[in-house]
Symmetry: C2
Subunit: 268 residues, 2 copies
């Protein structure tokens, strides 16, 4: 009964987070298509606009989903290895979109003779991208390649979890600074301080991604919403009636689930 309520709360918050993420993508699309110059690849404003669009789709929405993907109870019947591939795949996709969005803004700056990397936004943002690439490379090397020793997997897990959430948070902070910059530079008459419709609309976008981030962090850090460890899962699957259409042995034996246990111990 309590487990059911807990499950319902999880589902409600997950749905709310996904909706906020989706609405954020709609908002940034409306921002660049309706209020701004649309999309293009001409070194002008339309090329710059890929920057906020791809950051919100990839670096915020997809990264947020990648973070909570182990928490979805209907995936607990899938093998841990498959979930790792989905987690890694979503993060790699998010990284590719972030990289393209950087190309867009550097290309725009160079064409318009605007200096690169002068702002706190660019410092925090580029640091986040570099840390993200490191996080992905180390994550794949330690948790997907079959060469790394079990103690290393377990010892590194708290840092992997923490730095994932720290990078995600830093990206949102960088996005809020980016929104601030763009509204100050982009709005001339009326200015940002005169609160034209675009200013209010994009401020709301900033709040949407902040609440989305807050929900993802809440979901990711509830101990009772974690994927149960593999042994427990396998014993449940063997003792209970197999759910229709899902074979019990889809929960394939894993090389190790040391990382799961460690993650539970030291969840950020």
């Amino acid at each position: 009964m309590e487990a059911m309520e807990n499950y319902r709360l999880f589902l409600s918050l997950l749905l709310l987070a996904l909706s906020l993420g989706f609405v954020s993508v709609v908002f940034v699309l409306r921002w660049v298509l309706h209020f701004r110059e649309g999309l293009g690849w001409d070194g002008g404003a339309a090329e710059f606009n890929w920057h906020p669009l791809l950051i919100i789709i990839g670096f915020i929405f997809l990264q947020g989903i990648a973070i909570v993907v182990y928490r979805l109870p209907w995936t607990w019947k899938c093998s841990k290895l498959m979930m790792k591939f989905i987690h890694a795949g979503l993060n790699v996709l998010a990284f590719i979109l972030a990289a393209i969005s950087l190309v867009a803004v550097f290309d725009f700056h160079n064409t318009q003779n605007i200096p690169n990397m002068y702002s706190l936004h660019s410092w925090v943002g580029l640091t986040a991208v570099i840390l993200y690439s490191l996080q992905i490379v180390l994550g794949i090397a330690i948790y997907l390649l079959p060469v790394s020793p079990v103690p290393l997997r377990a010892a590194f897990m708290p840092l992997h979890v923490y730095s994932g959430l720290f990078i995600f948070t830093s990206v949102i902070a960088a996005a809020l600074m980016g929104i601030t910059e763009k509204l100050i530079f982009g709005l001339k008459d009326p200015k940002y301080k005169d609160s034209p419709p675009e200013a209010t609309f994009v401020n709301v976008l900033g709040l949407l991604i902040s609440v989305f981030g807050g929900l993802i962090l809440w979901i990711a850090t509830r101990p009772s919403w974690k994927r149960p460890n593999e042994q427990l899962l396998r014993s449940q699957l063997n003792s209970e009636p197999t759910p229709s259409g899902i074979s019990a042995n889809t929960a394939m034996p894993e090389r190790t689930d040391a990382e799961t246990d460690s993650g539970k111990m030291s969840k950020m």
Copy 2:
């Protein structure tokens, strides 16, 4: 042996965090005194300057210390009630400084005929202040007044911990936006994009408070660095030789430590 290493790591990271917090305060002082117009209460720029100064001293540095104050091992001999008063006191002090800093910026805006509350910075910042006041009022009502029932204390703890860390993070995000705004509006010739010394100096300040925040979050979310629960503490104090100068009964019996156990279970 491992415990000793763990303790050394804790001390090193705590010292690093405190140093970064202290250096951030020095940086913001140098910003307003050397690069800007100094401090005053005249409705002009010198009054505005209280805003970044008091936010960094109170809302970031003091709040950060308040968050990790239960983690200091040399306080585990003090009563939980006394630590609660220190935690609450530091947060109330931080709130007062944040409130004065808001008066400074509203007064500055009104004198200079600049609109209030138009920017994403102001939206996120004021939301953080309002949530912080709510957090303090609820925290005192639930954990300091002797009227609230034990199950409520335990049930509310995960939310208290999470929202504390969420507000702290939001304040840092708001500060980064505030720095961005001030460098764009304040630097005219040379501009922010020309990277004058002030721009680089204050960007570094932004990085300092971000790393400070990251360290506080890391320290606060390590399960092994939590204050042990009261029963365990009392049994240790009774069985071990009393450390010089500290009476065993300074660990006064608490009304309840349900909140400690709950906090341990659902640490963000």
